[in-house]
Amino acid sequence: MRALGRPLVYAGALVAVVLFAGPFVFMVLSSFKQPQELNGVVNGFLPQSLYTGNYENLFATGNFALYFVNSAVVALLTTVLALVVAILAGYALARFPFTGRRLLLLAVVAMQMFPAVLMAIPLYKILRNLGMLDARSGLILVYVTFALPFCIWMMRNYFATVPKEIEEAALIDGCGHFRALWRVLLPPALPGVTAAGAFSMILAWDEFLYANTFVNSDEKRTLSVGLDSLVGQYTTDWGQLLAGGVLMTLPVVLIFAFLQRYLTQIAGGGVKG
């Protein structure tokens, strides 16, 4: 592929890196800057020294640590539950012929289009009736459900590529359906499991609208709402806020660094029918 000249390609790549990564490099650097460097009195791209006061203030003054733990608990439970439910459903959709499968697939596409705002009111009422308003369990219930369409589709597509013969051999050897699923079908579908897991975890880590609407108590807030409220409270203390941003981004970046080779699947899970 030599559609473009070499120097032009490298120039374009450089521009893209600066444009897309620049703001975050600057955020990380700025989180180590002292107040006078951040309020515009002293200008400079690099921090004058490795000042960690912003991070210390973040943990000393607010509930940041609590938000972080809440988000971690919600994201982990969401991922585990969504994966279990999606693996079972994806297996059924890939293996057993039954009417309504096409309809379910259409529903999966349509569900990716659901306006979150449309669901906010009915979900608010449901959680209120279940006594799950202002609770992490309520958020987990909603996140698992919202992660499901993508996860089910992902798992279905992976299970569909595993030859039926392998599974049938296991069944003849006396494996039950459930054990055949666990021992024979799941290992080759591991990339799909990983992609679906990453998707669920990031959905829960990032979600703001419902977390903001359904949870009132400060000590039950997740990071996205917590950080947003801190932005409202301390608009002048950018150092502390940027330190919070860095810490919230860290787990996501680590997950993606680990998953780099599954990247196109995470984004394009829906492409392969």
Binding site: G40, V85, A92, A107, V117, H177, V231
Partner: protein, 312 residues
């Protein structure tokens, strides 16, 4: 195991057994695997949609409990004649179209770059997707810091370079707020579009490019006759997702401006939220949301039959 199997076949309706006699592992077993998913999707997605639909035909205000009553289309009539809604609808169209065009064009360019054989390609690919993977609240935080009128680095840079005389209030000015938010949303979501298109580019066989080159096709011809047709499905999916995500994008507006200044960045999404959770008028909010949903559902259905339906 054997007994459950017996029970299943005994309980199966006779007509179904007759019409599908050779269905070795059919019957009810798939429903056992599907049950948790169906329960969750039905209870936490399906039912709320129906409830939302029903609410949109009712007078329903949170602060007036017990006063709910069926009022037909009056919520729709009320919102459709509300000038605030018409402005928000116009903003939504502008927002959706601008995001679609900018993200598809820039995303395609970025995908082509990601597809090139570069030294350090893996590094390049993981670095340019940063805006997409970073949580939206952090994106809002970073850009509000960068765009801060007084202490923000961007204005200071522009002042130092002599490009501006006074600091613009990027997000607090009615004329700049919307364009800035469109650019920021494009910045955040273009990497996702690029990754989807990259997945498409990787499926085009090398031989096709080589054959086209042998036939003397230049870069523009290969773009027109090899690359674009080769990734048509990916383009359709990316387009659909872009419109869906943009129109539904609440964070990309709310975390920056809350729909302001003076409604300059109010879209149907933020408006529905305002109706519901600042005015507590659930009926009107549901009507706005249903209008949005109907539009997006239509779009998804068209996509499904044009792209996914053709493949089977």
């Amino acid at each position: 195991m054997a007994t459950t199997h017996l029970k299943e076949s005994a309980a199966a309706p006779a007509s179904r057994v007759a019409s599908a006699p050779r269905r070795p592992r059919g019957g009810r077993r798939p429903w056992a695997y599907l049950a948790p998913a169906v329960l969750l999707l039905g209870g936490v997605l399906g039912y709320p949609v129906l409830d939302g639909l029903w609410t949109s035909f009712n007078h329903s205000i949170l602060t007036q409990p017990g006063a709910d009553r069926f009022t037909g289309l009056s919520n729709y009539a009320a919102v459709l004649t509300d000038p605030v809604l018409l402005t928000a609808a116009w903003h939504t169209v502008l927002w959706g179209v601008a995001n679609l065009v900018l993200q598809l064009v820039l995303g395609f360019a970025l995908a082509m770059l990601m597809h090139q054989k570069l030294a350090g390609r893996a590094f390049f690919r993981s670095v340019v997707i940063i805006p997409w993977i970073v949580p939206s609240v952090v994106v809002a935080l970073v850009w509000r810091f960068l765009l801060d009128p007084t202490s923000g680095p961007l204005n200071q840079l522009l002042l130092n370079l002599g490009l501006i005389d006074q600091s613009p209030q990027w997000l607090a000015d009615e004329s700049t707020a919307m364009p800035v938010l469109i650019l920021l949303s494009t910045w955040k979501w273009t990497p996702l579009v690029a990754v989807i298109l990259l997945a498409g580019l990787q499926t085009i066989p090398k031989e096709l490019h080589e054959a086209a080159m042998l036939d003397g096709a230049g870069a523009p011809q290969r773009l027109r006759y090899v690359i674009i047709p080769g990734i048509r499905t990916s383009i359709a999916l990316a387009g659909l997702l872009t419109v869906g995500y943009s129109v539904n994008n609440f964070n990309g507006i709310w975390m920056f401006t809350r729909g302001g200044p003076a409604g300059a960045t109010e879209t149907l999404t933020t408006l529905a939220y305002q109706y519901a959770f600042t005015q507590f008028d659930f009926g009107r909010a549901a009507a706005v949301a249903m209008i949005l949903f109907a539009f997006l559902f239509l779009l998804s259905t068209v996509y499904f039959y044009l792209v996914e339906g053709r493949k089977r």
